[in-house]
């Protein structure tokens, strides 16, 4: 009956978003009066998995099959379904990532579960009605969704809840085999290409984001964005017009039809703040807008603003951070 938590690992480490998912799962378990078991996917080490005790996880199931290192939808689905059967789990929690949503949607059919993605809060369980709040309309609204049926799957949006850190708590790591066969690996990747991360931070996992728009005037000026990002330890992003004209790659495009981010800090440089862009960033905790046009609509959605020329303001900010550190 334990709550099953799917943790994504990369290069031996549990991803930060999965620490949040584990903390979410253990709090749901507490609410339901049961324990939380994790199942690990990706490249993990047993030592790091044991540390999931700090997020309230009692037990971690781990299949050491080497082909599970990369994301394979078929195999991951079978592995997690197997773990859910073993633990008789009625609630499964995953990250609302490309992996989590891909696997979660298949699992919901296989396990006859109801599914909510983009979940932003802990569930409410009142009078047998299980309700969660999720983001809808591309960040322009929220919906309280009732999940029907006995089994539920929740995909939790990054940075929606704080990760727990109960120092010293250790989870028991248990080898688990889902008896995977070649047929489960038909969508195994032929090749995996990771973005150049030299000194950079990945946008989907980032706590701090520095983003540039058309006001940056051209890709040759992007070092101003990159310098500030580097000083802060932030990821870089851009608006749709910028990726449309290939100043920056598509995976940096934040907005309604790009990726949605919810970092602690989003600094928008030379972005006017079209409604489609705001949709991708408005769940950020703090928004800073730098724009020379005081009428830019983005200022209405901002916490802090500087009306000024990005080419003068950005170097000053970078300098100020360097002095602070």
């Amino acid at each position: 009956m334990s709550v099953l938590v799917v943790v994504e690992c990369d290069n031996g480490e549990v991803k930060k978003s999965s620490l949040e998912v584990a903390s979410y799962g253990s709090q749901v378990a507490q609410m339901l009066g049961t324990t939380a078991t994790a199942v690990a996917v990706g490249e993990a080490t047993e030592a790091n998995l044991a540390k999931l005790g700090e997020q309230g996880i009692s037990k971690v199931l781990y299949d050491a099959e080497p082909r599970l290192k990369d994301f394979v939808n078929g195999a991951y689905t079978k592995l997690i379904a197997g773990a859910a059967e073993k633990e008789s789990s009625l609630v499964i929690v995953l990250a609302n990532s490309n992996i989590g949503a891909s696997v979660g949607s298949r699992l919901s059919v296989r396990l006859q579960a109801s599914l909510a993605t983009n979940v932003v809060e802990l569930p409410k369980n009142n009078g047998g009605q299980f309700t969660v709040k999720r983001g809808a309309f591309s960040g322009k609204a929220f919906a309280d969704v009732v999940l029907m049926g006995e089994r539920k799957i929740l995909a939790v949006k990054k940075n929606s809840i704080e990760a727990l850190h109960n120092a010293g708590q250790v989870a028991q790591v248990e080898r688990f085999s889902a008896s995977l066969t070649d047929a489960d690996f038909v969508d195994a990747p032929k090749q995996v290409v990771m973005q150049d991360q030299a000194g950079g931070v990945l946008l989907p996992e980032a706590d701090l984001v520095v983003s540039g728009g058309r006001g940056m005037k051209g890709p040759e000026n992007w070092h101003l964005i990159e310098d500030l990002a580097k000083a802060l330890g932030a990821a870089t992003a851009c608006s749709k017009p910028v990726s449309d004209v290939d100043w920056r790659p598509h995976h940096e495009h934040v907005g309604q039809t790009g990726i949605t981010v919810s970092p602690n800090l989003y600094i928008a440089c030379g972005i006017s703040g079209a409604i489609q862009h705001l949709a991708g960033v408005n769940s950020s905790k703090v928004i800073v807008v730098i724009n020379k046009d005081p009428e830019a609509p983005f200022f209405k959605a901002a916490d802090y603003g500087i009306v000024g020329d990005v080419f003068e303001v950005l170097p000053k900010l970078t300098q100020a951070i360097k002095e602070l550190n």
Binding site: N98, A101, S102, V109, A136, Q195, T257, V307, G308
Partner: protein
């Protein structure tokens, strides 16, 4: 190759979102509906692949009531050959997935394409559900799709990179940029779309598994605190000491 492209009917991206007084439904009054922008990548790519193969058909499928037909006609004008509308309001992802799976099975489609997610519900669920219901692979979200015979090579986006995946038809893919440059209808397309077949079928399967109890708008911001450009460094101090985010 038979392509099935699933489109949803969504509020235009510039829409200001409001709800009915009981907060149970989206307020459609005065709202312009469009083909879901993610679905446009699926539609255009299917047409391009059909043209490259010099054979095959592109069928567009929508689960919706009669008011979605203008956008179905638009998809036909862009270049789909025929259309099917499942006559029902799309209650939730599971409900919609059942309709798509039933149509896909009945028509023995080789490639089932759709956008990554709809910009209204943002479920990012239907692709995987359909794949599982049909027992075929799903590649989601796909940034690139090429076909050689019945073998497809796709780029699947993962956090921080991409995987190159090869699957054989039949399969499902959910599409996103930079897969192609979405086409817009031309005059000839608009004329021919009027007479292309649009079949209406009734919904099948079980009902929904989820239900919206209430919609809400995000809390309003307190108002922006402006810092003079000359003392830009002050912003960093505020971010550390007041907002405590760095």
């Amino acid at each position: 190759m038979k392509f099935l492209v699933c489109i949803s009917n969504v509020p235009d991206t510039t829409t200001k979102i409001t709800f009915t007084p009981d907060n149970k439904e989206f307020n459609k009054a005065g709202v312009q509906f469009v083909i879901n922008p993610w679905d446009e990548y699926a539609l255009t790519r299917a047409i391009e692949l059909k043209e490259a193969q010099g054979a095959g058909t592109v069928t567009v499928l929508n689960v919706g009531e009669a008011d979605t037909e203008p956008n179905i006609r638009k998809a036909l004008a862009i270049g789909a050959d025929d259309a099917i509308r499942v006559n029902a309001a799309p209650k939730d992802a599971y409900f919609v997935a059942q309709q798509i799976a039933a149509v896909a099975k009945e028509g023995a489609y080789d490639v089932i394409l759709m956008g990554k997610e709809s910009i209204d519900y943002n479920g990012f669920q239907v692709h995987g559900m359909v794949g599982e219901m049909l027992g075929i692979p799903t590649v989601a979200p796909a940034m690139k799709l090429d076909m050689s015979g019945s073998t497809a090579t796709l780029e699947r986006e993962i956090e921080g990179g991409k995987e190159i995946v090869e699957v054989s038809a039949p399969f499902v893919a959910s599409c996103q940029q930079p897969m192609c440059e979405p086409r817009i209808p031309n005059m000839r397309g608009i004329m021919t779309a009027r007479t292309k077949p649009l079949k209406v079928v009734e919904a099948v399967g079980e009902g929904a598994r989820t239900e919206v109890a209430e919609f809400a708008l995000p809390p309003k911001k307190q108002g922006v605190k402006l810092i003079p450009a000359e003392s830009a460094g002050e912003l960093i101090r505020l971010l550390r000491n007041e907002a405590k985010v760095i």
